[in-house]
């Protein structure tokens, strides 16, 4: 996904390596606890809802709606940051790309797209559908 703003590489840890491996294959996965059935965000090895260690990566739909957003007008190249609520449940921080800043609205549907980073795996971002 093209963006001229330089995106810093994410911090990859042993807890999240599998997520970033999937991202390199353009697959968006979410951590789902098989004990309680809930997905959470940001991903961690221990379910924050039921404390189970039975967290598995599941292919996500990539569909979400905008929970809130803000356009960083003060930046040299303005960008839209936002929280989007995934179809799978949790709400995550992201950027909203390929959008008319003035047309963004809370509740608007978006879908995942991976954006290249400076020297790491691509990161999940979203664009209006």
């Amino acid at each position: 996904m093209a963006t001229t703003r330089k995106i810093s590489a994410p911090v990859v840890t042993v807890e999240t390596q599998a997520f970033w491996d999937a991202a390199r294959e353009n697959r968006f996965v979410v951590p789902l606890c098989t004990a309680c059935g809930k997905a959470h965000w940001y991903p961690r090895a221990i379910c924050p809802f039921c404390d189970s260690g039975q967290v598995e990566w599941r292919e996500a739909s990539g569909k979400a709606t905008i929970y809130t957003f803000s356009v960083m007008r003060r930046a040299k190249e303005p960008y839209a940051i936002g929280y989007v609520t995934l179809a799978e449940g949790p709400t995550m921080l992201t950027n909203i790309l390929d959008c008319d800043f003035d047309a963004l609205r809370i509740g608007g549907p978006v879908s995942v797209v991976f954006a290249a980073t400076e020297d790491g795996p691509p990161v999940p971002m979203f664009r209006p559908v």
């Binding site: 994410p10 809802f49 803000s70 003060r74 940051i81 936002g82 990161v123």
Partner: protein, 389 residues
Amino acid sequence: MTIKGKAYIAGAYEHPTRHAPDKTVAQLHAEVALGALADAGLSRADVDGYFCGGDAPGPGPASMAEYMNLKLRHVDSTELGGASYVALAAHAAEAIALGKCDVALITLAGRPRSEGMATGTTPRLRDPNQPEAGWEFPYGLTTANGYAMCAMRHRHQYGTTSEQLAWIKVAASHHAQHNPNAVLPEVVTVADVVNSPVIADPLHRLDCCVISDGGGALIVVRPEIAKKLKRPLVKIAGAGETVKHLAGGTFDLTTSGAARSGPAAFAEAGVKPGDIKYVSIYDSFTITVLIQIEDLGFCEKGAGGKFVADGNLISGTGKLPFNTDGGGLCNNHPANRGGMTKVIEAVRQLRGEAHPAVQVKNCDLALAQGTGMQLSTRHCSATLIMERE
């Protein structure tokens, strides 16, 4: 076990500087410490407990204890961001109640202005071991656009307008005009705020706090000591603290930790929001104030916009006079940490030592509310209720 009545704030001092290129941070810590001790009528040798945030040069308490040559039997460097100093006043009371110290010194100082820090508009990777770091830093989360997302959501849920938020800056500026040390002493209008450049939608430049050097200090002592000193008696009546976070991706950005720390403080003090005569409310941005006054119960959730636009925050005319020093929005935000000055102005009000133009009549009960770190992700909240005896 309670801290109610177990400790008194005997000394309070705000450094007059707002720009200190000619001083070190350690020097500022020492200057505010000596200022607060002089205010209390105590000396350095009386201090046996030292409290600072995690940001004190060192970090933690050791370097500053050495620089100031303190002899200590209790230390605490709890790090709650800008809320630290509100919480540390309560921690000092706890330590005193337990007999761990008699005279507690709390200091804050910093020089973000001299150091040219782009405080609110530059993403900062603080520590790669923070588990959320990789999920936030790439997206350009800054202080400003984080708080802006809270404002945007509040607008969506409750219809809060930019003009309503602007009233918070207007009220702060009405107070700051009487403060000769304020960074922004000019009275501003709603139009001034909404016509200032947008930093991050929907927050404008004048929705943001100032960036200033400086600091402040408090002296908290046991009751027997307070009663021997010549200062008005400001008793610590109750406190609460918490962390509010994203809870695995299930959260509401229109509420803050004040919804939990506030009720805890009211319960300990045995008072209600309606009893409070003066409030210091952390004001990193206008939206920070709006959300906290709702969460503390000074108005219904979602009704904050109307409440502030009715002029309720202005001393002399409003129901809830706030930040009568001009607050972080207009006066001072030393070290990018506003909790210290929140407690200091509450102490001035309870002593009757605020500027006469903004002094609240018969001010016998005050609340200081601090919010530290990032409202839109994880933040610490501390509430402190103080009573004039």
